[in-house]
Symmetry: D2
Subunit: 298 residues, 4 copies
């Protein structure tokens, strides 16, 4: 089953599923090996890993290059956090072509304006995209995709912008009619009440995706009860790695020695395994007849 079909079924399945953030080929493989059925290519995490801000400072093709490594390293479908689609409908439909070429399973776009701002930094201050314009963008993307299962998720920022439930419903419905495959309902409250209010009125017209970064204390069974289709752990690999790297860097700076470090980091062999070094060794035996490595030397 191709990656788009896998992702589409994951989203349409009535059970609550979970996907996890990755930001490069390595973390994508780690997410896959942990057992997740999908990978969230987070705009925040990818930009942060590059050392730039989540405001389209990296170009969309720089993001695409990261995605290509992620897709090549895994068999699990990837859903891209595609910001606003990086411009207007024409940029967004061009993005779809490039994503499909790289076997990215789907993309989520949000109804903000380019260049975007992270929803947790600028919240109410940001102007949303006009509904008509955003619907045109969704239509253009759906008309462009070649694989009928490629997924376009519409992320609605009405709650983030402080516009309330009515606007949230109005936008979600418009995006549904424009052809979106799912609605990502975003909230920055520390509880799930906004999402609950939306879910009740929405009545399952399309699958619902949530990102509980801010309402992280919500118990899992609440997601199940609400019938949420997909939950995204949106940035936790990046945040775990920052924590770990800051700790190890400080320790090494202070201790000036590896002797107490080795046991706290993955063995070198684990890195080689993740890179699939073994496959290359086999291939060398097959394709490098005597060259450039001497026979029998290891």
């Amino acid at each position: 089953m191709n990656k788009s079909t896998q992702l589409k079924r994951l989203i349409q399945s009535p059970t609550t599923d979970y996907i996890m953030e990755a930001h490069n080929g390595l973390s994508a493989k780690i997410v896959e090996e942990a057992g997740f059925k999908g990978i969230w290519a987070s705009g925040l995490s990818i930009s942060a890993s590059m050392g730039v801000r989540d405001n389209n400072e990296a170009s969309w093709t720089q993001v695409l290059d990261v995605l290509e490594f992620m897709s090549d390293a895994t068999k699990t479908p990837i859903l891209l956090d595609g910001d606003t689609g990086y411009g207007n409908f024409n940029n967004a439909r061009r993005l779809v072509k490039k994503l499909e070429q790289r076997q990215i399973a789907g993309v989520c776009i949000e109804d903000k304006q380019f260049p975007k701002t992270n929803s947790f930094i600028k919240g109410e201050a940001q102007l949303l995209a006009p509904i008509d314009e955003f619907c045109g963008k969704i239509k253009a993307m759906k008309d462009t995709q070649q694989d009928e299962d490629f997924v376009v998720v519409a992320r609605v920022e009405a709650f983030i912008a402080g516009l309330g439930l009515d606007e949230m419903l109005r936008r979600a419905e418009a995006y549904r009619q424009a052809g979106a495959d799912a609605i990502l309902a975003h909230s920055k409250r520390s509880d799930i009440t906004e999402i609950e209010s939306f879910v009740k009125e929405w009545s399952g017209r399309l699958p619902i995706i949530i990102v509980p970064t801010k309402y992280y204390m919500t118990p899992t069974n609440r997601f199940h009860e609400l019938g949420i289709n997909l939950v995204i752990w949106a940035n936790h690999n990046l945040r775990a790695s920052v924590n770990a790297m800051q700790n190890i860097s400080r320790k090494l700076y202070t201790q000036q020695s590896l002797s107490q470090i080795e046991k706290n980091v993955s063995p070198l062999e684990e890195i080689f395994r993740l890179q699939n070094a073994q496959e290359l060794e086999s291939a060398e035996e097959k394709y490098l007849t005597g060259l450039p490595f001497e026979e029998g030397s290891e």
Copy 2:
């Protein structure tokens, strides 16, 4: 003081200094904030983070793109682990131009053949570069650099290839005469004996750099006694992050909840701080007069 001058002084200083690995803009900033005076842009770590192997699977310009983000995110000098220079003398001198353009302070090249193999996977099996050819490469690089302090380090793989001390000395001396600024003496033994034997015969003709990944139990004061100029912690940020990401991914997969996760990862605000989000907010006040954010709304 520009970055190349900083790096050159660090290497030439008689005291033992330490630099640490980074593999993207984010980890580079973490190394800098920990206090290190230099950053090691590791070929293994950069390739692993991309999800490819340490065999020049990523092109040299893909590596360059990563370096540009690393350099832009920091003020600390970066020493690139430049493999073989990615081809012959012409590729290597072209690399120098591109590195200087991006304010990379120096590059270390190793006397292997393109495409390279990681020294800890293929060791004795690999053929080294002919000495004359490698000397021509060093000369070409030194003749190309515009900043007189740009650093070219010659990494000698004679011990790795099982060729013994005489070959090690012969090569190091040839590379010194060709213009190298320092010798990186590499060893994959679990003790420091090979390095010791080299240091004694070498007698300080050029600064010595070591990478104690395999002889990690060697106590710090041994480096001092030997008069090692620079010690590289070569891949420990990557290995710490792999460990952390595998743990958090497994936990999240099993627990299906963030409630026990939040305290084990860096806060979102720490990510925003590392991205320097605050500077953009100030800049928006200065340059975005009323647009596109509404005045007084946050």
Copy 3:
């Protein structure tokens, strides 16, 4: 004299100067060899050469990659046709950093909205950027540049948008106060009357740049009389090459033979000369001692 200083003096000089379009490293070198003192890196030509539209279909870093080749191939200052700066003030100031890193001498931005449309396709139909927003963008760019001579040109699209002389003057004056180094007054009329009306009222407050693509019949001495500082031949290398390639392709398709073609194309040796192949041959003699080419074999 560095490239930015060269360009700044060219623009500030009271005599009428001319620069010509290039769209890759090769055409940039051809412009330089023809004697021009500056190179116009045309957005239309670069996008057309890639086979995409002049609507920001190529990402800004893809354009940057082309510029890097252009800058590396020449010593003549390059002025980039930078569309809208590829987003808001933050994207535009980031662009300045990247351009300076690649020794691009200056950039021209136009007061449209991202993604842009070619001024000769959509004219009056397009909405211009709010003046305040565009002034903030100019200020941010000027505050970012490290080389005090880096040039920021403000291209005013008021005539193109059908808004008349008053709006043209109002915008030009605002951009001047915001810090622009020159005004590019654009017109799509087939005569120079709009430009004349502007020049008279402007009274030399800042240097004026024009692009007579549409009013190509205007005699040269009219530019001199008006005191135009810089005239841009904006897309003629591209258009000459299209004409030539269409002719040769059709001929070769029909004739199925090179015998009548050779005399109509540049000799292969001219291509090698433009690539500076001779320098590599000299360098090989210097740096490739016996390897990999056999001695005395040619």
Copy 4:
């Protein structure tokens, strides 16, 4: 029919067919519109257009970026002049994956060593790749391709290296047995005698491809008589464009006026047509409901 299948049939067809060089998206489209059934993505032309040398100065991913634009702009199959495969068997098989992802129909590799030298500059002086190593590379590439019709052409440089007919035949046969889909027999003589000698002994064991750049006076019917399967006009679009750009640049530099230029270059409208601007105008009507262009304004 997909592009690989088109190319494979073109090569396997007993009639003599012709393909023509392109070096970017624009020239690829021009080749297609002229009627050619295939496009030769020339390494010399692509490097020259960038302003660098034909010695792997551009990285293989920079070439890949050009190919992606070429493939996106056309429906005609593209055969890449892939130099040596940009390294060893592992680099070459990685290349195949990346080419297939971008719908490039096939690749031609030559039995030289990385980094390559242009065959018309360094001829006899260059060492060829060991036969075994090159066969391993071909096998690795054929084993990697997903589309069974993806084409791998083996270019034999024995004549170029001055090694004679026996070596030419020995290598061609070895590459055939390794899985190559066709043999590109290269010669730098000004007559076709070397090729003739090869064709006679070869006896049609695999399709033969030639590049008559140096023996351009050979009449077409000679190709037919010899049963050549494919003839490549390898660099003539680039050479035509250089000639045209040098002429127009010199004229404009001297005349300082467009008045005599306009008739010698393609109209601007032809550039817009080649970029398919019309499609975007239609799409704007469909997807941009009222935004950002005002209704009825043009």
